[in-house]
């Protein structure tokens, strides 16, 4: 086999320009694919991280039916104190749950005493919230545009930056928040703007925040009543087993009609970005298919040319007794070498470019977020799989020319000029 490999290698060097051109095509293809996977993957990872770590958490528990009417933030679908306690007990018993945060979401009116605007609000327990969505504090600008300290004391309000601009509100200004409670009566509380929250893509991306105690006061709620429990897990990889486990435990809690009280969703079900993530996965698949097509066509073309140009040589080696299997192996090996060389060089170049992009700090904007820093990375397994696909396709592309070469009748091949 080493002899066949040596002859195959020399045959490739014989047509060095053609070999280089074909290899370049394979190299460009593999570089394009690996860079796409790295950049698109890092964008996906970044966005998922932003969404889960600054807004949604990995999982959310609501009262059954809440998510279907989430746009009007209904207060009549709040979880009562006993139900919250049940969920808390289940969550504390799951080792994959790192933290959770209880939220009371509602809609209200915000007034700067001269203008009034609608606002969606999250009443939060700051300590629990910052543990569950640790990137939230990075979105909040405090005094002089600096990031606010991760506190949200009673009497303070964080407002979305779009609303701050519209109502010309600045840190330290007083506003009045008005909301309708479950009984239909309207109440208002004066609050101090202590933070401006940067906008984010997706649900909750333009919400304001206040201390849950202020929310209880405004809505005249007594006891620990919430309508959302955001959950942070030890890793995104455990989302599926944890949700199955939680569903199993929480489905045991039924209402008077014997129907489940709770519903539990992953971040993917709650954020439209999950569709973009799916599109990225689909695009990655298409890019891989294009790579396969490039490798298949270019290597098959070059190997067919090699067979046609070397018919008499094939006749000679067949005449002196080389078996059809060895002739087949010779041409397969040539195709494999082309693919192998392209895959190795392409992978090395790709890894170099990825390092360079990380060193140069690639920034991009998405929606209202304009300083996202991409850190393209690629798993070695992904590089190996892509390289193996290229090598496998190279072998496949060489198969037909190799079979053609091995099936040539020596007497006819020797007559060829």
């Amino acid at each position: 086999m080493t002899k066949i490999a040596r002859i195959a290698y020399r045959n490739l060097l014989r047509y060095s320009r053609r070999t280089m051109l074909t290899s370049m095509l394979v190299i460009i293809g593999i570089v394009a694919v690996l860079l796409f996977i790295a950049i698109a993957g890092s964008f996906k990872q970044l966005m998922v991280g932003q969404i889960t770590d600054s807004m949604l958490g990995h999982l959310q528990v609501h009262r059954k039916g809440y998510v279907a009417s989430i746009d009007n933030s209904p207060l009549n679908l709040n979880l009562k104190a006993k139900q919250v306690a049940k969920v808390k007990a289940v969550l504390k018993g799951n080792s994959s749950v790192s933290s959770f945060s209880t939220r009371l979401k509602f809609g209200g009116m915000l007034s700067n005493f001269t203008e009034t605007a609608n606002i969606r609000l999250n009443g939060i327990n700051p300590e629990m919230e910052f543990q569950t969505v640790p990137l939230l504090s990075q979105r909040v600008k405090g005094k002089n545009g600096t990031n606010a300290a991760p506190t949200l004391n009673q009497g303070e309000l964080w407002i979305p930056e779009t609303l701050a601009k519209g109502l010309k509100l600045k840190i330290g200004m007083q506003v009045v928040l008005v909301a309708t409670n479950q009984d239909g009566s309207v109440n208002g509380v004066p609050l101090l703007v202590s933070g401006i929250v940067g906008a984010m893509t997706g649900p909750g991306g333009r919400d304001g925040y206040l201390n849950i105690k202020d929310a209880y006061q405004l809505l005249r709620i007594k006891g620990e009543e919430v309508n959302e429990i955001a959950i942070r897990l030890s890793s995104l990889d455990v989302v599926n087993p944890v949700i199955s486990n939680l569903k199993e435990q929480l489905s045991a809690v039924k209402n008077k009609n014997g129907k489940p009280v709770f519903e539990i969703h992953t971040w993917e079900k709650l954020s439209p970005f999950s569709n973009i993530a799916k599109i990225i996965d689909l695009l990655t698949l298409f890019v891989k298919i294009i790579l396969i097509a490039i490798v298949l066509v270019s290597i098959m073309n070059v190997m067919l040319m090699a067979v046609y140009e070397r018919i008499r040589e094939i006749g000679t080696i067949a005449a002196i007794g080389t078996s059809p299997g060895k002739i087949r192996a010779l041409f397969l090996m040539e195709g494999l070498f082309l693919g192998f060389f392209g895959a190795v060089v392409g992978s090395i170049i790709s890894l170099g470019i990825i390092q360079f992009l990380n060193w140069k700090s690639l920034t991009m904007s998405f929606g209202r977020q304009d300083t996202l820093i991409l850190t393209p990375t690629i798993a070695i397994s992904e590089v190996i799989i892509t390289a193996l696909i290229v090598i496998g396709i190279s072998a496949l592309a060489s198969l037909q020319p190799a079979i053609k070469a091995s099936n040539l009748e020596p007497v006819e091949a020797l007559r060829h000029f």
């Binding site: 002859i7 014989r14 080696i317 005449a319 080389t322 078996s323 059809p324 007497v411």
Partner: protein, 231 residues
């Protein structure tokens, strides 16, 4: 003892709707260790006969035995194995493998056909290269040596597996007269040294004269068999 036994051998080709008879009912015997020439005008069937004896082609009818084996109905793989085990070839255009050196071209049948270890055969290969006069060229590629030297390398390659029979179809057609004469003499020397049977075709009357047995073909039939050993 007969190395080649041919009985009522015919070969026809289909060219569109026309059937061409390249060989018609040919019967002959070739003894082991003889130096045989097949002569005749173009289209007389020389190459067809050599291709059939060389197990490169299959007959339309009749039987052909080489080294006591009926070779007319072997499949592709069996034919390849038979050629590798029993035959050597010298071609008109030398047909050396351009990417291999002179040494590697001679070594090729041992490694790729006989699956023999190259190290153990180094002495044998060098001996052959020396015998055909190209030992000093062993590191050169075919493109770096002359036509005569290429044909010498081809003779060495044909003999390296110690075949019973070497087929040479017009081995001197692309060489000048002096070189052609040297190549035929070289083949004759090799025949004496290794007791290998050589069958070659040629047009050159002077070279024909070097053969021990001459078969003259005309219109696909044996017109004459001349045994010059008797004279």
């Amino acid at each position: 003892m007969s190395l080649v036994e041919i009985n009522n051998l015919s070969k026809t080709y289909q060219m569109g709707e026309v059937t061409i008879s390249a060989l018609k009912d040919v019967s002959l015997e070739i003894e082991e260790g003889t130096f045989v020439s097949v002569v005749g005008p173009s289209g007389s069937g020389k190459s067809t006969l050599l291709n059939l004896i060389g197990v490169l082609d299959q007959p339309s009818s009749g039987s052909i035995k080489v080294a006591n084996q009926e070779v007319g109905r072997l499949n592709n793989k069996e034919r390849a194995n038979f050629r590798g085990d029993n035959l050597g070839f010298v071609f008109q255009n030398f047909n050396l493998i351009p990417v291999l050196t002179v040494y590697e071209n001679v070594e090729y049948p041992l490694l790729m056909v006989k699956n023999e270890d190259s190290g153990s055969q180094r002495e044998h290969i060098n001996g052959l290269l020396d015998a055909v006069g190209v030992l000093e060229q062993q590191s050169k590629r075919p493109s770096q040596i002359s036509g005569g030297q290429m044909q010498r390398v081809a003779v060495a390659r044909a003999l390296v597996t110690r075949p019973k029979l070497v087929i040479a179809d017009e081995p001197t057609a692309n060489l000048d007269h002096d070189t052609a004469y040297k190549i035929i003499n070289l083949m004759k020397e090799m025949k004496e040294k290794w007791n290998t049977t050589f069958i070659f075709s040629t047009h050159d009357p002077k070279i024909i004269g070097e053969a021990e047995i001459i078969f003259t073909l005309e219109d696909g039939m044996i017109k004459n068999r001349e045994d010059r050993r008797i004279q």
